[in-house]
Amino acid sequence: MTDAIQTRSLCYRASEHFEVTDLALTVPAGAVYGFLGPNGSGKTTTIRLLLGLLRPRSGEITVLGSPMPAATPSVLARVGYVPERPHIYPSLTVAEAMRFHAAFHRRWDSAWATALAATFQLRSDARVGSLSKGEMGKLMMLLALAQRPELLVLDEPTDGLDPVVRRDMLESVLGYVAEHGATVFISSHLVHELERICDWVGVMDRGRLVAELPMQTFKDGIKRLHVAGAAGDMANAPFVVLKRDRSDAAAEQWIVRGWEPGMQSYIEGAGATVREVVDLDLEDGFVEMLRAARTPTTTEV
């Protein structure tokens, strides 16, 4: 098995105003895959589709080699899931929540769960409903990790948490990945958070997958170019022009993706000159990519 998650032509209609369209995701086994997108872009819906919580209208989903939603129970036994909102029964204590969860997972590691509870400073007699946001996040992460999953699906796991808790949680995930070689599928709208930990990135916007590529390629390939002269149509260029702005009468600013050293010659061949190539940080690249995706004239992003 080379891919932990694969979807083909996946469609789901959530409402009249929102649908996931023709989604083709590929998450390599062992990858830490960052699923980026603004709020409301369809990340949570996609995750629920992947886990069999929602039924797709059409398309194929394969998770850990099994078709979804047909194989939902057996796949969920191998997947640790941290949802966007707390979902654990609030009237239970931390210890009861752990016992309840353990009863459903054969690979539950009690010793490690206890150790994680100590690391996360979770009191076993504390009621789940009385936990702070950070403690709740830690408890959900504990439950997902202690079941020893092959795939961790984390839906905005650190959203709204303070930096210390955020770091604790991400470190526990990375520690687990390093030890067990598990795959992580983590959604977020916090670009910098994913930049540090992910080796693949998929970008969602308005129910569509806008881009999917290795993080390094994404980071390295997004550039701002200062171009002098009038270059013609760039539709067949080896890079993707996300944006072209005229900065003055004789020059333009371009935002490009997939840029590699030596590509200036292509622009020069089109009658213009590259004056400067500026690195963009990931967030700028992400924002420009979304803007380009939302511009009707952009045919490819």
């Binding site: 919580l53 129970p73 057996s74 036994a77 979902h87």
Partner: protein
Amino acid sequence: MFRAILATQWKWSRGMLLASTCLAFALPLLSMRAADRALAESDARLLLGAVQSFGMFYALCAALIGLLVAATAWTSDHSGRHVYALSLPVERWRYVAMRFGAGATTLGAPLLALTLGALVAIASVELPAGLHAHPFALALRFALAMLLAYAVFFAIASGTKRTAGILLAVLGAIILFEVTGEIIGIRASPFLWFIERVMDGRGLFGVFNSRWMLIDV
């Protein structure tokens, strides 16, 4: 898995179950208390009348316990929009069956209390000639009524807001129909017709409408 679900069900409903268990234990004793005079006079006819008039309290108690246990079975899942239950590695039908089974198991406490209460109640009185005590038949009837009420309310409580909306809409339509019928002089009541059908001896809810007799001939 079932034990874990049973533990949560117990946690969510134990206060209510304790009160129900006390009530179920007290009912047969109270029914004998209501028949004090008939017992003192050893009047069989009066005793049967008193016992029969108390019967509806058993039916009401069974329905109430079924309703409350069913409601607690789903409350926590509803509050989390069922995400947790759906993300557990178990088939949906199996989860629902276990949830149902856990609630049904907890009904054992009030049932046992009613049986014990009935045994204590009949042990403390001397029955007039020709009358017999039926504690186990009463307990069986109580068990069936509780289970039926629990099953119906469990099914209703498991539904979404949409299901509740549909049920309310149907109820509203029936009421509207009856009010309109009353105004234009048509004396047809589908609601009453329906209630009569399901509550008569052969109807689905016939058990509630039958004789709840701790003491009978």
